[in-house]
Amino acid sequence: MTGLAPSAQVVAAEECARAAFAEHAGDRGPLMPIFHTIQERLGYVPPEVEPVLADLLNISIAEVHGVRTFYHDFRHSPAAHTVLVCRAEACQSLGGQALMAYAEEALGVDKGEVTPDGEIRLEQVFCLGNCALGPSVMVDGRVHGRVSPARFDALVGEVRST
């Protein structure tokens, strides 16, 4: 996969990593903020940033890789939009489990996958802090409460068209 990636993409990833490092050079223990900055700009954290950051931070590539892959949020592939469906207990008590099943069917992907057109990433999440107004869904960083299947379709439709 990496070997087949166009070199321009690799160069962009490496440049992004250097820029993010420079912006967070003054932070203590800056790896998490660096990853967040990279993901904000590229939509995911590509593996190509690992040797660059290991070198700049003077830690092993294994350590950088370990952090990149430990956290659910640091995505391994790009997607235009991210849809999180809450599966925690409070939302389950209001049909969160069925909503996730509906989301998988409607988007034609399993949780953790991206639609074939690269538009929508569907992920499960354990709690969005909207537990009195569930079931909850987050679309590109915005929480929506009391989400029915019809509302889910509408929310996905809104981001797909933009």
Binding site: C91, G129, L133, G134
Partner: protein
């Protein structure tokens, strides 16, 4: 004439932004506040009247025109009446949440006008040891779930030698049915800043971090904005409010790892590492962030501190029962008719919260179980609704208060599924450091699947007991150690869901 609409993300999740925009288009001046915490009324619109604010809710954007023509702007339109007189509001004792839902969260003037920084000023006039004593005397215990006395923690850090100490606020509020940390950060961020600054003065720290989960982007944005404003006001930085105290703080964002709510994992994550639990000792108070003495407190613990200093330890300690002193913020969620946050003294019963205040289920069906204290908390049946909300009473009943979250389930819930889910959650979120948690959670899912399928049920139920005992006794932290709590409480109280004929339907 000012009209108030909440900007809290829960309110926004059901259309508060659209309501505010519609009001503004109609020429109304809208002030965005935090949420009062009556989430079933959101979007709630409030209007000033000579008697106080009157409320309307839930309001849909399409209702706005009609409301205005029937007298919304002078409060004469029929609605909920005076907000402060609603039973949910009137019966509370809002100390930490006093300003939430009332003021513009990012207005430093409003913070001062409504009693902000009084606690900080008092603290800065006191010796650090006296501040620690005040917090100890208040009886404040860690609101994150463990209930450890805050004063003892602070005293340990104060007594630790070193030129660099930290105050870390744990805002990785990952438990389902908890959202009070988020609402405080979004609704009154200066209170948390004030609490952390008091902590810094009390223990001799110069730097602070708020570790906020990534699922709370609005809280992250509000805290960051508030810190900038606080710096400009001289509430952070050198010589705070003219004192000798120099202290500054930063927001750090998690990345979707529940385990980072465990304090040592959080410290690892703050250091830029995987969120792996540390073995204790050493305790973080002595060797915490980057090996330096560190106070690690929950948002609500630090949020209680300004009021304790402002009103005195005794006033706080006079509230509550037994060794659970002061107020705490209960959060009603899940399948509940009236969900939200409710601040009151310890000792209120579970039934009073869920039935009297919460109004039972949203579905209208009978309640079957509530889970108290998040995904690692016990399932409690209706028969135990007379339990007082107090750390010790819950521990005695084989349950825990935790961070004060209550998730309600109606009679359609399948408790063997919820037990399986407890293991599934643990398997997904385990940091992987210790074997009982890492492997045990996966084996737990498999065992529950066999039980639900009716495969060798007797043997597998024995195996389940054995596994739960091992995870409880052998895990490094509460993640693996408490996952058996929801599992075994579900089993104990709802045995029929584990032994019935047709489980895997």
């Amino acid at each position: 004439m000012t009209v108030y609409v909440s900007r809290d993300s829960a309110s926004v999740s059901v259309g508060a932004d659209e309501v505010a925009a519609t009001l503004e288009r109609a020429g109304v001046q809208v002030l965005r506040t935090g949420s009062r915490g009556m989430l079933w009324l959101e979007p709630l619109v409030e209007v000033d009247t000579p008697e106080g604010r009157v409320g309307y809710g839930p309001v849909n954007p399409e209702d706005v025109g009609g409301l205005i023509s029937s007298g919304l702007l002078d409060g004469s339109a029929p609605g909920l009446g005076l907000v402060e007189e609603l039973p949910w509001m009137r019966t509370q004792n809002r100390l930490t949440f006093a300003r939430v839902g009332v003021i513009d969260p990012l207005s430093p003037d409003a913070h001062l006008q409504y009693g902000g920084n009084v606690g900080l000023q008092k603290a800065l006039a006191m010796e650090p040891a006296a501040v620690v004593a005040e917090v100890s005397d208040s009886g404040l215990r860690g609101r994150g779930g463990a209930g450890f006395p805050t004063g003892i923690k602070w005293k340990t850090v104060l007594g630790a030698e070193g030129p660099l100490k930290f105050v870390c606020c744990n805002a990785d509020e990952g438990d389902s049915s908890t959202f009070a940390d988020r609402m405080l950060m979004e609704g009154d961020p200066f209170t948390l800043i004030e609490g952390m600054t008091i902590a810094a003065h009390a223990v001799g720290a110069s730097e602070g971090y708020v570790y906020i989960r990534s699922e709370y982007p609005d809280a992250v944005a509000t805290m960051r904005a508030a810190i900038e404003i606080a710096r400009a006001q001289g509430w952070l930085g050198d010589n705070i409010l003219g004192s000798d105290l120099s202290y500054d703080m930063h927001v750090r964002v998690g990345a979707g790892a529940y385990i980072c709510g465990e304090e040592t994992s959080m410290l690892e994550s703050l250091e830029g590492k995987r969120g792996m639990v540390r073995a204790k000792p050493p305790i973080p108070a002595l060797e915490g962030l980057f090996g330096k003495p560190t106070v690690v407190n929950n948002v609500l613990s630090l949020g209680a501190v300004p009021q304790i200093l402002a009103k005195g330890a005794k006033a706080y300690a006079d509230l509550g029962v037994g060794r659970s002193r002061g107020t705490t913020i209960f959060q009603l969620g899940g399948n509940i008719a009236r969900g939200g946050v409710y601040e009151t003294a310890f000792g209120i019963t579970l039934g009073e919260l869920v039935n009297d205040l919460g109004g039972g289920t949203a579905s209208g069906r009978p309640i079957r179980a509530v889970q108290v204290g998040g995904p690692l908390g016990a399932y409690v049946p209706v028969e135990q609704f007379d339990l007082p909300m107090d750390y010790e009473a819950f521990a005695e009943a084989g349950a825990m208060v935790g961070h004060g979250g209550i998730a309600v389930f109606d009679d359609t819930v399948d408790m063997s599924w919820m037990a399986r889910f407890a293991f599934e959650f643990c398997a997904a979120e385990s940091c992987g450091k210790c074997t009982p948690c890492r492997i045990g959670a996966v084996r737990g899912v498999e065992t529950m699947d066999r039980i639900r399928a009716g495969e060798d049920r007797e043997k597998n139920l024995l195996l389940l007991d054995d596994l739960c005992e091992l995870m409880t006794d052998g895990s490094l932290c509460a993640m693996g150690g408490l996952t058996p709590l929801p599992v075994q409480s579900a089993r104990r109280h709802f045995e029929e869901d584990f032994t019935g004929k047709d489980l895997a339907r």
